[in-house]
Symmetry: C2
Subunit: 294 residues, 2 copies
């Protein structure tokens, strides 16, 4: 690095030039663009020194709030829509496959392998629900042996990893394998809406901007099958509050499903749930490996 | 917040709309601009999920590296030229007053009041130097009773606050008051170039981008006078390495000075330095309070 001295007018060019010697051309590209957009932001709002100080303090505390089970920078990325943007850019579907949405910060552990039909609701709370669906390829071919990794928050709005010692281990979490017709089914509870953790810097930001911290009711999925492109997504509950104001911008119309009640004692006995029970059906379509959205 | 669902095309608009209810209009403006520029950056480089993960980890560790005597986010702001840009935007001089530069992370303590002529080099290391100058207003009027706060790194490249127990307390730091002619003078050492702390995430960034961590030799000043606008700046040593590649982009041509040697035993005895000694002269001009650069 060697060259032109800093000036307000040419600040981004001067700083970007300092990255000219970067061995990795992709890193040069990313840092150059970052500097250009960051400087444009500072100039656009004419950021004051006091505001800069607030930002430094906010970012510092965001890092310091993070630990093994709390990732405050992912939350910040989430509430600024950056996580959803990165997810969307990297998983364009072209309408040919199930749309993706954010992974979220709570897929921190391996989900336990379970048999089709198993009950993942280990804490005995919530409205009982049969979740089922079929995994197919782009031409409707059933994907037998696909992995279906699911996890959801409990009736109180917390994931198992947020409440070690309170919830049973692996509560509301499971790794299923589809049958010969690509089908999966398991017993769980109807998901409920819940707030993202709002006792840290991100919560302060939401409060200062009069935004609520809630996510509409959803069940997470990661579906993988050999030779096909994985999908990370949610299914959302149709009548949930906050469907039009998800704190992390994760909702897509194509991912919303009704969760109707079934009143049929024989069917209830067959699936091992009390009558009546709710049903959530979510079919997923995967692109082939190497297939690009068109 | 309520409205349009997220899409790649309209991501920034959708997220910006979530800030529409912010009570403080300035915060709405800042967050809206931030979201627009941040999303533009992600789209510009089509950030991958892996790169996003690296960024989350980098920012988290940057927060966690910070403590009472180490502010890694300020360092990050510094090496991206953001600190210098904020400083420059908020202290436009129009060529009428001494130019400002970054405060830096090491003005963490009150400088001890000292008498004109005092020696601030308490550790006995380095090339002895007489530092002097005059503080004036925009019409050349001398500013008697102005405060001149100075601090610099020692011969080994560390500030006193970085080496508690190693350097004497308040080593190379002092708060002086100008005399009736607005003049100040004190004994110190010729500043040396030094690396910013590079054992953290910012050091990793510099290494990955083949940038050196060094700052050219400089002495920090904050000069204040009642009725005048304060100036935060440095004076740089003319023959220092890294003058054209300051790791934090702080150098301005108008702030560079020669530090000539004086070989005059009588003068040396008068100022209390061994003969020969070096001299650094730095006069400062302050704008009047409320005066805007034109």
């Amino acid at each position: 690095m060697s060259g032109e001295l800093f000036s307000e007018e040419r600040s981004a060019e001067v700083v970007a030039a300092s990255f000219a010697g970067t061995p990795n051309p992709r890193l040069t590209q990313v840092m150059t663009s970052l500097v250009q957009h960051l400087h444009a932001f500072v100039k656009d709002v004419e950021l004051t020194e006091e505001e800069w100080g607030v930002a430094i303090d906010f970012l510092t505390r965001t890092g310091q709030m993070s630990n093994e089970v709390r990732q405050e920078f992912i939350l910040l990325s989430d509430v600024l829509g950056v996580s959803m943007l990165v997810e969307t850019i990297n998983h364009r579907t072209g309408g040919q496959s199930t749309e993706s949405t954010v992974l979220g910060p709570f897929h921190m552990v391996e989900s336990p392998p379970r048999a089709l039909g198993d009950d993942i609701a280990l804490d005995g709370k919530g409205d009982r629900c049969l979740v089922s669906g079929q995994v197919t390829g782009p031409d409707g071919e059933p994907l037998a042996g696909a992995s279906v990794d699911v996890w959801q928050a409990n009736e109180d709005g917390f994931y198992d990893v947020q409440q070690p010692g309170v919830q049973p281990e692996s509560n509301l979490r499971g790794l299923f394998t589809t049958d010969d017709e690509g089908r999966f089914w398991f017993r769980s509870i109807v998901p409920k809406y819940y707030p993202i953790p709002d006792d840290g810097p991100v919560g302060e930001l939401l409060a200062a901007t009069a935004r609520h911290p809630n996510r509409p009711a959803h069940l997470h999925f990661i579906v993988t099958a050999p030779g096909y492109r994985p999908v990370t997504t949610h299914v959302f509950v149709e009548d949930s509050p906050y469907l039009d104001s998800d704190a992390v911008f994760g909702v897509k119309d194509s991912l919303v499903r009704a969760v109707p009640e079934v009143d049929d004692p024989a069917r209830a006995a067959e699936v091992g749930l009390p009558n009546p029970f709710r049903t959530l059906t979510f079919d997923l379509t995967l692109l082939r490996g190497g297939q690009t959205a068109s």
